[in-house]
Amino acid sequence: MTRHVVAAVRDLPPGGRKLFSVRGRPIAVFNLEGQFYGLLNRCPHQGGSLCEGLLTGLVLADTPGEYRMERAGEIIRCPWHGWEFDIRTGQSWCEPDKIAVRQFPVQATSGQALVQGPYVAETIAVSVEEHYIVVEI
């Protein structure tokens, strides 16, 4: 595993998502209330770009005809066929054990720590005063 600095934290505010290419792989990074999550940007169904999908919540019901929305902003729907994925786990809602998107660990790390440890910053200049989004791959 190598650690790749992809952006400064301030460039991806909470609720946002952004597509990065890390070692040639398209990785969609999501900021969920300050926590970062990374998913391979290919829907396991037919390869749709998940990063371009509707970021929404989970529609649930206890009984027929009643709707409630939970977990706002935690579900991405593929723009091609609407399959739903949990951005925290990569699992599909309909068949979580069989159908999932590959996850990549993403962290916010201080510039100070990055200066000390091994990392790859292909396009980002790192400053010790900033915080950065680091994808492990």
Partner: protein
């Protein structure tokens, strides 16, 4: 005989006509039918003289198909070595435009079957026919007969006034769960709505071949309206729906559900899983592929050995001779179809 000991889940004793049912009607309905001279409540789906309506060697001399008790006993029960056979009379009660008249014909049909068929042979069981056009009266009829354990199912035509998932029909499902009675949906309708999703065909041939379409619609309705979520113990038996159309339909239903699930969030399992849990199908007609070797593949695609129920569909002409079981079905599945699956589906048969 390969079928010895089998449970035949679909046979059709014929109702000779209103006159036969009059003794089982109230004074009002007796006089109403006599005064108005009404008869001929046979559904149009099986015109008595059409070849499909009765095998040549099972025709009743001078009568409608299935109307001779001794002949049915000999041909449908003795000959195949049947352990139990479930009688599904197809007559106009569930279809009459008048709700109360329909209910009267249904009640009379049920009492006639009990007195003149079930009482005369311990191998016979029956479905409760109910007025599909009046769910509240259907529930009354179920309540009236539920304590008679010889009635093992509630029979509805495959199509009625509205799709069966609608809440209008839920009281019937509630009663079905309460009394441990599966709902049998038999090919047919109320015969006043177009039998296809595309309007009225010109030919009987079209009507007959297209009959499975409505089963697809009913499945979608029952799943998406939430009826199968609400009534988890409900079992549906598709009678004469054919079988081999089902796998492709299930794949399509699953695929689309994955994309549009938020519209029906109460559907918490894939449609195919729900169908395997709730639905059983009688295997005549099976609509088997021409090559017996291909049949195993299609049946594997159902994804469950629990779904098929043995049936001859007597006296309808689905096969010749003793070939009630098409070649190409695995011996283990044959055993399940003939005995285990019917016993699991019809809890009352085991009592």
């Amino acid at each position: 005989m390969l079928t010895s000991g089998a449970i035949d889940c679909d046979i059709h004793p014929g109702v000779p006509g209103i006159k036969t049912l009059l003794p089982y009607m109230s004074a009002h309905w007796q006089s109403a039918f006599i005064e108005r001279g009404m008869d001929g409540f046979d559904p149009a789906s099986y015109p008595p003289n059409a070849p499909i309506s009765c095998r040549a060697d099972w025709r009743v001399s001078g009568g409608k198909p299935g109307t001779d008790f001794a002949q049915l006993q000999r041909q449908a029960l003795d000959h195949f070595g049947t352990r139990f056979a479930i009688c599904n009379p197809l007559y106009g009660g569930p279809m009459a435009v008048s709700e109360t008249m329909g209910a009267a014909i249904c009640s009379a049909t049920n009492d006639w079957i009990a007195a003149e068929w079930l009482a005369r042979d311990p191998r016979l069981r029956a479905s409760i026919v109910v007025p599909a056009q009046a769910p509240h009266l259907a529930v009354e009829e179920i309540e009236r007969l539920a304590s008679d354990q010889r009635f093992v199912q509630i029979l509805l035509p495959a199509a009625a006034e509205m799709p069966y998932g609608k809440r209008y029909y839920w009281p019937i499902y509630q009663a079905a769960e309460k009394y441990d009675l599966p709902i049998g949906l038999h090919t047919g309708s109320l015969f006043r709505h177009a039998p296809t999703s595309n309007g009225w065909p010109s030919q009987y041939l079209h009507d007959y071949v297209a009959a499975h379409q409505v089963f697809e619609d009913q499945l979608l309705s029952l799943i998406y309206e939430g009826a199968l979520t609400k009534f988890d113990r409900l079992r549906l038996v598709f009678l004469e729906s054919g079988v081999t159309w089902l796998p492709g339909f299930l794949w399509r239903a699953n695929k689309t559900w994955r994309g549009v699930r938020p519209e029906v969030p109460w559907v918490k399992a894939a449609p195919a899983e729900l169908v395997r849990h709730h639905v059983r199908l009688t295997m005549q007609p099976l609509d088997a592929p021409p090559d017996a070797a291909d049949l195993g593949f299609v049946l594997d695609q159902l994804g469950s050995d629990d779904m098929l129920l043995f049936a001859t569909d007597y006296p309808h002409w689905q096969f010749d001779g003793d070939a009630a079981l098409p070649a190409g079905i695995d011996a283990g599945l044959v055993r399940k179809m003939m005995v285990d699956n019917p016993l699991a589906t019809y809890a009352r048969l085991g009592k």
